[in-house]
């Protein structure tokens, strides 16, 4: 068993050891060891040239990562959290995403950008955003959301190897989780969704931190005789639409769980996909379990009430199968 953060560090070490073009930069990735202790020890092992503490200038260090990728390097940029990544959004949307297309295929940006996302730690409205859906709506970049320890490792390897810009969203509640991990496992494609729990009555479709809540919900539903299939989207762009439709073709009911606000969320995109591609497979209306449309509050009971929780997922599933 390994923790999520150790799995990412294992991947970072492997990449740094195997490819001299790889380097890590971001705020407090060196001396501090990373805000979530992911890169702890790497500065001592690899030195300041390859583990670069940046000033607090998200736009410029993300842009510099793009420039370094254009210049033949394989930068891994850690933007401490998604909350700060808005300061670099121009570089993402106007440079990383468009460079290949706008130059007629002459230039590519093989950059990997990692950042923490999500709520749940009582750090209030400015530090609890889930904005993966913003990124997942942009053609030209790819977006991954590892939910498991193995994926946290494998997806970073895949992102650095990829010739396109890849953004990895690591849910902040997952860094400490433990799970089975084999550093030498054959890499599965990161662009495909996975069935984390097989079931036949209802599909619980989730990604990132919400996958674990969906798993718990599936176990509770099982006790009540409802067989739920948990789909982990894994890749948010490209979205594995065939896997989503295939699951609903088996269960005929869909609950989509997403820690983002409901309006314009990935849950909306998944729901629309089902409406377009699997409408006649549905035996019940699609339901979305998302974050309430308020800024995330500090107080624990209010934060809990704002976020998607297991009871809400269970309730939605029961309503869908007609037992609610």
């Amino acid at each position: 068993m390994t923790t999520y953060r150790e799995a990412i560090r294992t991947a970072l070490r492997r990449l740094l050891l195997e490819d001299s073009r790889v380097f890590l930069m971001g705020e407090d990735v060196g001396r501090y060891g990373g805000a979530y202790a992911v890169s702890k020890g790497l500065l001592d092992e690899f030195g300041e040239d390859r583990i670069r503490d940046t000033p607090l200038c998200e736009s410029t260090f993300v842009g510099a990562g793009i420039g370094a990728a254009l210049g033949g390097m394989r930068p891994i940029v850690e933007v401490m959290t998604v909350n700060f990544s808005m300061l670099a959004l121009d570089q993402v949307v106007n440079n990383a995403a468009v460079m290949r297309h706008m130059s007629g295929g002459q230039f590519e940006v093989p950059i990997a950008v990692r950042m923490a996302t999500g709520a749940g730690k009582q750090i209030a409205a400015q530090h609890s955003h889930s904005l993966e859906n913003w990124y997942a709506s942009i053609p030209g970049i790819k977006v991954l959301a590892p939910a498991t320890v193995q994926d946290a490792h494998d997806m970073l390897l895949a992102a650095v190897e990829d010739p396109d810009p890849v953004f990895i969203f690591e849910h902040q509640m997952l860094y400490g989780i433990e799970g089975p991990f084999d550093p030498n496992a054959t890499l599965s494609s990161p662009w495909k969704a996975a069935v984390r729990h097989p079931g036949s009555d209802v599909s619980l479709i989730a990604y990132g931190g919400s996958v674990h809540k969906a798993m718990t919900a599936a176990e509770e539903l099982e006790k009540e005789g409802i067989s739920a299939e948990v789909i982990d989207l894994r890749s948010l762009r490209p979205l594995d639409r065939p896997a989503i439709s295939a699951s609903v073709s088996r269960t005929h009911r869909a609950i989509v769980i997403d820690e983002a606000w409901k309006t314009g969320s990935l849950a909306s995109e998944v729901s629309a996909t089902l409406a377009e591609e699997a409408f006649y497979e549905l035996d019940a209306p699609i339901a979305r379990v998302c974050t309430r449309e308020v800024p995330i509050p500090y107080a624990k009971h209010l934060e809990d009430a704002a976020l998607p929780q297991v009871p809400a997922i269970v309730e939605a599933a029961k309503r869908s199968v007609g037992n609610g």
């Binding site: 736009s59 842009g63 210049g71 290949r100 706008m102």
Partner: protein, 309 residues
């Protein structure tokens, strides 16, 4: 400089004929900057430019035909018709674009220089931007980061006195841009951007210093655009008299007068140059006219390295 002037005049004409669409920003008046600076750089240096970059691209060696075809939106354009006037690119010429978000190209230049430093290459990354970009946070962040990490970037500020339509004194608190970089420990100087010889000399010296020390430098080139900001601009923010005053400093006329006075060239030479340039531009238009439109079937091409569907 004459090649740029005539290319731009032809572009304006073709814009009126709707052969060129979208935004078109002409370089007329500022030619000494692009020509002087490009001639001072080496072929294996990197160039990052702005949306007013036809001149830089041309002097850097992108053929006039490919630039014109790009403005037409044709497949034989230097960006395959996907970029247009503001987004000229050439991997062969290490021309990393035409960037049209003011200040957005600076971090890219920082990253290119970082890559060069980490790979042990001795390239200079020349980053062009206007006075408007010095208002942006990325300008200050980039100066800080290049100074902190000792990165070989040559920052070239083309101060044409206007951030689109906002006069310099109305958008910069300190009337002297050169005062900014020293606050970050970056060497800074101001040069007459209407004098091509002075520009070439200054950029050459600065580039070689960057190459030798690996540290960034900043040059402000004071210049002026004779034409409107873009083809949509009614120029309500400046007087005709001001424009006429600057036209007296026309970089092409200045060089012509000096070269004639020093008997380096004759009137006949100038006629020959004019004829050659006219032919080049005519051929460029032909190249663009004869170019193919890319198939709509290829619309999604180059969004990713491989088709995702």
């Amino acid at each position: 400089m004459l090649r740029i002037r005539r290319l731009e005049e032809k572009s304006a004409e073709l814009y009126a004929k709707q052969k060129i669409r979208g935004f078109l920003h002409l370089y007329i008046g500022e030619e000494a900057v692009g020509v002087g600076a490009m001639r001072a750089l080496r072929d294996d240096d990197n160039v990052v430019a702005t949306y007013r970059e036809h001149g830089h691209a041309l002097v850097r060696g992108i053929p006039a035909g490919e630039i014109m075809a790009e403005m037409y939106g044709k497949a034989n354009g230097c960006s395959g018709g996907r970029g247009g006037s503001m987004h000229l690119f050439s991997v062969e010429r290490r021309f990393y674009g035409g960037h049209a978000i003011v200040g957005g190209g600076l971090p890219i230049a920082v990253g290119l220089a970082l890559a060069n430093k980490m790979k042990g290459e001795s390239r200079v990354t020349a980053c062009f931007f206007g006075d408007g970009a010095t208002d942006e946070g990325e300008f200050h962040e980039s100066l800080n980061l290049t100074a902190l990490w000792e990165l070989p970037v040559l920052f070239i500020c083309e101060n044409n006195r206007y951030a689109m339509g906002t006069a310099f004194a109305r958008h910069v608190s300190d009337n002297d841009i050169v005062n900014n970089p020293p606050a970050y420990g970056v060497h800074s100087e101001t040069v007459d951007g209407m004098d091509v010889v002075a520009v070439e000399r200054a950029v050459h010296n600065a580039a070689e210093s960057v190459r030798e020390t690996g540290e960034p430098r900043f040059i402000e080139l004071r210049t002026y655009r004779f034409r409107a900001h873009s083809m949509y601009d009614a120029e309500l923010y400046r007087s005709k008299a001001e424009v006429e005053e600057w036209k007296k400093l026309d970089p092409i006329e200045q060089l012509k007068d000096r070269a004639l006075a020093a008997t380096l060239i004759t009137g006949a030479d100038i006629e020959t140059i004019e004829r050659d340039v006219a032919r080049e531009i005519e051929e460029a238009v032909q190249f663009a006219e004869q170019g193919e439109w890319e198939s709509i079937d290829d619309l999604a091409r180059h969004t990713y390295a491989r088709d995702l569907s």
